[in-house]
């Protein structure tokens, strides 16, 4: 431990929440240090006397640790390395762990010597709006942007993937309490005692909030004793869930609170199987926002020098971490917190060389205590300048009234290495604002407080501007109790609110910007992270950016990782002064989620890689994988694209060989393909035929049992929705198939119409897509194969005609056989219950082997159907009518059907609409890219009139002998025999194509009948 002490010259020998028996070694910028368990990286750095931790965003000015909380604008470091590297991490929020490795950012070659510091000298050119004024709109600004981004960036990301697990969780609560400071703990306690389901969410390693940083008492004992006993009681309650290290970062509709729980961030690496971070969505009935408040800086000349720190943070380091953030301190505050700070720093053994109070008079008890300790109090004075470069060396103070009168005041230099500064506290209204709450300005605290609630939320304690401990406790006890009662829980007698012994405090003096000495050009930073000064705000205002939202975008005030937690209100105050208005009149910018940065991984959760979406597998999936299938995505499904032979390497040549092999096999012998992905809907009831009549464009009343029919459906707006066959398998029993892509939408379409529009129809629909495995056997030998599979069936054209449907046993299991064809060949589809799918598939192949049966994938399937001009989702793309696809004559005029009225509206029945045609390259060899635009003349000056587009393309067609495509072409039927051009400007391609009928193979359809 002695070693630890030597290495931590700024550590106080006793007190604080740190575990002195557990020293932890860590490194910053490659140098080794020691801290203690219970430290943050910031407190450990300060204990080691490290004050310079980063360089600013724009001017690369040296910056130090400024706060002790999530609002930190300066101390952003690059944490860890490799896949776990995390840029822009706030040193104030990182719990120290053994071996922690951090590096400073935004500097090169080193923190102390940063060449980009030259920006600071050129600062008069880097004014507000510099980027817009200098680079935007001039030729080549994309070129400059690259260098500007490099110079101005914040941290750098890693390119290797993160090895850790991020997860998601849902929670449900009667009452969510955000923040476990005194108000939140009290609220959770009374709500929890009622039996209500409570979530208490706190961003720190342990509850207590501000109590951990102050030397206050509750019921005459240290306040943290009360927090500990409250916590102990809460932990005993089964109905209370406490999330530690959890930040409520968003408040969404329906009283949903998004929370980031940092499960393992405080560990070197997560335990095996443990997640690193977990993102919660907690659905609440009531939300109590005990989110506390954030201290505002004072805006004065040189207020960004390392060693200048928020007063509350200085108290935190002294009281909670037993760290002296300096040896010789000056305190500069516009409120009584300055005196509280001086007392705490003095108690911590820091020499306080003065309390600078811009107020005059006002002898509060805290001030008296300070004077009694012999600390110099300078009333009516301000800090006008700081000295030092990489660290604070001293401050100049001067009389405020003299300065405001326009005279040059005398200044007094006080050497110091710590300037604790405070401009009052602003309630954390972020979550309140997320749900469109409009904060209201409260002049008594010079800050915005929550206004009316739009949801079931209530802000309590410091979050609504009640800063005293007594008020926070009273708010918490009352709000917890009232919220529980409003939800019907019984809370019994009102709990005794514990007593506190706070000193009375006087009012603060509003000082949005501290006047600078006449003639000095020093910079007074409003936004430390974005390097926005008071002068930048005034310049923006003078250029017309008078709205707070415009100010933000023009100057970047309030942007960045801290989102203006310390800067917004001061910036708006400076703007208000410049406009001669009150802050209440200029308002504040809208806070949006997230409250603090959230890793993208926490939003992705486990939905990464193959699990980004669910993967659907057919019953034959494993067989495909075991037999050389190269799988491809088809929506959520995985389907065989083509099959490689045993030991055949996967190359482009092998792919084309496989596709050709499969395509020829279907036309010459037989092929089998897995069509289980097609949507299947079971339709039962006496009104089934009527339902079909209403949803399909063609008629269904005459379909006989044992027959199938092809049909096309329209959307309500007359646009084609889907096509497929529906079979009548019983008197009142039909079996509908849809395309793979539209299975869900068609089911929804039927459900919607049956439930909303036609509840009178006696018919029920059920999705059986997953019940049946389906396989298509196509090719001239398919009848012989089927005969071997089903010896009991008469498969002659008379016994089992085209569009016939049979039920029969395949071996021992039931099967449905449909004589339908997508390839134009003699073909059958066999459906068996899914659990028998793989066995049936294997049986088909075993039986078909002697007939030349081979499996074929989607590529071959696609070529075969393009040869026949059959459409799929590439053509039924939500933009075409039935007539565009050549189904105009199918539309029945004897009945009404969904979409009929709007299918005849103007434009939809325009004879010049693009319609389905076949397209063949004139040179007989060039492949036509799907998505190509059809034009008359590719060299015509733009805008080139578009005649249509290529929807589906076959790079090879071994049966036809050249590449073929289908597409939609204006006035298509009349253009057959013409040539047009298929152009693909992205690739600079132009192919001259001949317009043909969509069907270019077996035009008479003789092959269908074998």
């Amino acid at each position: 431990m002695i070693r630890g002490k030597e290495q931590q010259p700024f550590r106080i020998s006793e007190g604080g929440e740190i575990e002195r028996t557990r020293p932890l070694a860590f490194s910053f910028d490659g140098k080794s240090y020691t801290g203690y368990e219970g430290d943050t990286l910031a407190s450990a750095l300060l204990a080691n006397g490290v004050k310079l931790v980063g360089r600013s965003f724009k001017y690369h000015r040296p910056r130090g640790i400024y706060s002790a909380g999530p609002e930190e604008p300066n101390a952003l470091v690059n944490l860890r390395s490799g896949g776990r590297q995390e840029p822009n991490t706030r040193a104030t929020q990182i719990e120290l762990f053994a071996g922690l490795e951090a590096k400073s950012q935004n500097r090169w070659p080193s923190l102390a010597l940063d060449v980009m510091g030259v920006n600071d000298l050129a600062s008069r050119f880097l004014f507000a709006g510099f980027y817009y004024k200098t680079f935007m709109g001039i030729p080549g600004w994309h070129f400059y942007e690259h260098f500007i981004r490099k110079a101005a960036g914040m941290g750098t990301a890693e390119h290797v993937s993160d090895p850790d697990l991020y997860d998601k969780m849902h929670g449900h609560a009667d009452i969510v309490v955000v923040g476990a400071g005194p108000a939140g703990l009290a609220a959770a306690l009374t709500a929890g005692r009622s039996g209500a389901r409570v979530f208490l969410i706190d961003e720190n390693d342990k509850p207590g909030g501000r109590l951990r940083s102050e030397r206050e008492t509750i019921d005459g004992k240290p306040a943290m004793d009360w927090a500990a006993s409250t916590l102990a009681e809460l932990e005993e309650m089964e109905n209370v869930t406490l999330l530690r290290r959890a930040t409520a970062f968003g408040y969404y509709d329906g009283d949903t609170i998004a929370v980031l729980e940092r499960v393992s961030d405080h560990l070197p690496v997560p335990a095996p199987f443990q997640v690193r971070q977990r993102r919660w969505l907690i659905h609440a009935k009531k939300v109590l926002l005990a989110t506390g408040s954030t201290e505002r800086p004072l805006v004065f000349d040189g207020n960004d020098r390392p060693g200048v720190m928020l007063a509350g943070a200085a108290r935190t380091y002294a009281n909670r971490f037993a760290v002296r953030p300096g040896k010789h301190a000056v305190v500069f505050a516009n409120n009584d917190d300055g005196y509280r700070t001086a007392l705490d720093l003095a108690e911590a053994g820091i020499e306080v060389r003065g309390v600078i109070d811009p107020r005059t008079g006002g002898q509060g008890p805290l001030k008296e205590d300070v004077i009694a300790q012999g600390i110099d109090v300078v009333s009516g004075a301000i800090v006008v300048r700081t000295h030092g470069y990489l660290g604070l060396a001293g401050v100049d103070i001067a009389d405020l009234a003299t300065l405001q009168s326009g005279a040059m005041p005398e200044t007094r230099y006080i050497p110091c290495d710590l300037l604790a500064t405070g401009g009052g506290w602003s309630p954390n209204v972020h979550l309140y604002s997320h749900q469109s709450g409009k904060p209201v300005y409260d002049p008594a605290i010079a800050a915005f407080v929550p206004g009316e609630s739009r949801m079931n939320d209530r802000s309590i304690g410091a979050a609504r501007g009640r800063f005293s401990l007594g008020d926070c406790l009273a708010d918490g006890y009352t709000a917890g109790q009232e919220s529980a009662e409003a939800l019907g829980f019984t809370t019994g007698a009102v709990a005794d609110i514990p007593s506190t012994d706070e000193q009375a405090t006087g009012p603060l003096k509003i000082l949005w910007q501290v006047p600078a000495l006449p003639g000095r050009k020093g910079r007074r930073f409003v936004d430390l992270q974005d390097d926005v000064t008071a002068d930048d705000v005034k310049l923006a205002q003078s250029e017309g950016y008078v709205s707070v939202e415009h100010l933000k975008r023009y100057t970047t005030l309030g942007m960045g990782t801290d989102q203006g937690k310390t800067s917004n209100i001061n910036g708006h105050g400076v703007l208000a002064e410049a406009r001669g208005l009150d802050v209440s009149e200029v308002g504040t910018t809208t806070f949006r989620p997230p409250y603090t940065p959230v890793a993208i991984g926490a939003f992705a959760g486990r939905e990464v890689g193959r699990h980004q979406n669910p993967v659907r597998r057919t019953p034959m999936h494993d067989w495909h994988l075991a037999h050389g299938a190269q799988m491809m995505e088809a929506g959520l499904w995985m389907r065989p694209q083509y099959y490689l032979g045993k030991d055949e390497p996967n190359s482009r040549e092998a792919m084309f060989k496989a596709i050709e092999r499969e395509t020829l096999a279907v036309r010459n012998a037989g092929g089998i393909s897995d069509v289980s992905t097609l949507g299947k809907i079971d339709i039962q009831g006496p009104d089934a035929a009527e339902l079909l009549n209403r949803v399909y464009i063609n008629g269904w009343k005459t379909l006989a049992v044992g027959k199938a029919r092809y049909g096309v459906m329209l959307r309500e707006d007359g646009v084609a929705l889907d096509d497929g066959t529906t079979s009548r398998i019983g008197e009142n029993h039909y079996y509908m198939t849809t395309t793979t892509a539209e299975a869900g939408p068609v089911m929804e379409h039927l459900e919607l119409h049956l439930q909303v529009h036609w509840p009178d129809l006696d018919v029920k629909v059920a999705s059986v897509s997953d019940e049946w495995a389906a396989m298509a056997i196509a090719g001239p030998n398919s009848r012989a194969i089927l005969q071997d599979l089903f010896p009991q069936l008469d498969l002659s054209n008379e016994g089992f005609p085209f569009m016939g449907v049979r039920e029969a046993k395949l071996g021992t299991f039931p099967a449905r056989i449909f004589r339908i064809s997508f390839s134009g060949e003699l073909a059958y589809e066999i459906a068996v219950p899914a659990g028998y799918g793989e066995a049936a598939w294997e049986r088909c192949l075993a039986v078909g082997e002697s007939h030349g049966l081979v499996p074929y994938g989607l590529e071959a399937l696609n070529i075969l159907r393009i040869e026949k001009g059959h459409v799929t989702v590439a053509e039924i793309d939500g933009r075409v009518s039935a007539a565009d696809l050549g189904f105009g004559k199918m539309m029945s005029s004897k009945k009404r059907f969904v979409g009929d009225a709007l299918s005849t509206r103007e434009g939809m029945d325009d004879p010049g609409r693009p319609t389905l045609v076949g397209l063949t390259p004139v040179d007989g060899t060039t492949r036509i890219r799907a998505g190509s635009i059809l034009v008359e003349d590719p060299k015509a000056p733009p805008p080139v009139p578009k005649l249509g587009h290529v929807s589906s393309t076959a790079p090879i067609s071994p049966n036809v002998g050249h590449p073929i495509s289908i597409g939609l072409l204006k006035d298509g039927p009349n253009r057959i025999g013409d040539t047009v051009w298929a152009v693909f400007p992205l690739k600079g391609e132009a192919v001259q194509v001949k317009v043909t009928s969509p069907n270019v193979f077996d035009v008479e359809g003789a092959r269908l009948h074998g």
Partner: protein, 202 residues
């Protein structure tokens, strides 16, 4: 060559579900127990709303289990169990020991729509200490014992797959009915989510 070979139903999880202990080795034992219930019969029956009470009576007569007329209520101990999934709509489920669909077609009036979904669903049983927490990872509805009671079921999304979740007991024991094509996805998501609690697959 055409001789029929008797083949058993193949589960969607065949070769995927690996019995044994997976993930964290917790001193208090695995937090999740996962088994597949297979082979399993699932038959949907549906009647017009005005004939639902009559169908409920007929179902009771046919199966010995009285279905609840309230949606989302489950009845029966398992042979069969009847889950209410809508007004006038139930799932009759049991471990496969007969052709349940054919039996119901014979036993119920022919005005009822009967759809065999036995092969369309994969049924997973989850039990153990951390079951509700695991489900809360992938499902937005309230899994708390006071909100999701025994003998109730919910049709909902679980890890982006449409599921029917049946709470068999407050213990907790849950049966998850998922579409067969999503079964591997759901199993992988459940196992992945269960690793931190320890998962025993029977």
């Amino acid at each position: 060559m055409a001789d029929a070979v008797i083949l058993a139903r193949r589960s969607a999880l065949a070769g995927i579900l690996q019995p044994g202990d997976h993930g964290a080795n917790r001193f208090d034992g695995p937090g999740i127990h996962l088994t597949e219930r297979t082979p399993f019969s699932v038959v949907q029956i549906e009647a017009r709303a005005d004939t639902a009470p009559a169908l409920a009576d007929a179902l009771e007569a046919a199966t010995g289990t009285a279905p609840s007329l309230t949606p989302n209520q489950s009845a029966g101990t398992g042979r069969p169990r009847i889950l209410g999934t809508g007004t006038g709509r139930w799932l009759v489920v049991e471990p496969e020991h007969r052709d349940l669909a054919a039996y119901l077609r014979g036993a119920l009036p022919d005005t009822v729509a009967i759809t065999d979904l036995s092969h369309a669903r994969t049924v997973l049983r989850l039990s153990g200490r951390d079951t509700r927490t695991l489900l809360a990872k992938g499902c937005a509805i309230d899994m708390h014992a006071s909100a999701f009671l025994a003998d109730t079921s919910r049709m909902t999304g679980l890890f982006h797959a449409a599921c029917l979740i049946d709470c068999r007991s407050a213990e907790p024991v849950f049966d998850i009915y998922v579409h067969r094509s999503y079964a591997v996805h759901l199993f992988e998501a459940l196992l992945d989510g269960a690793l931190e609690y320890g998962c025993r697959i029977a």
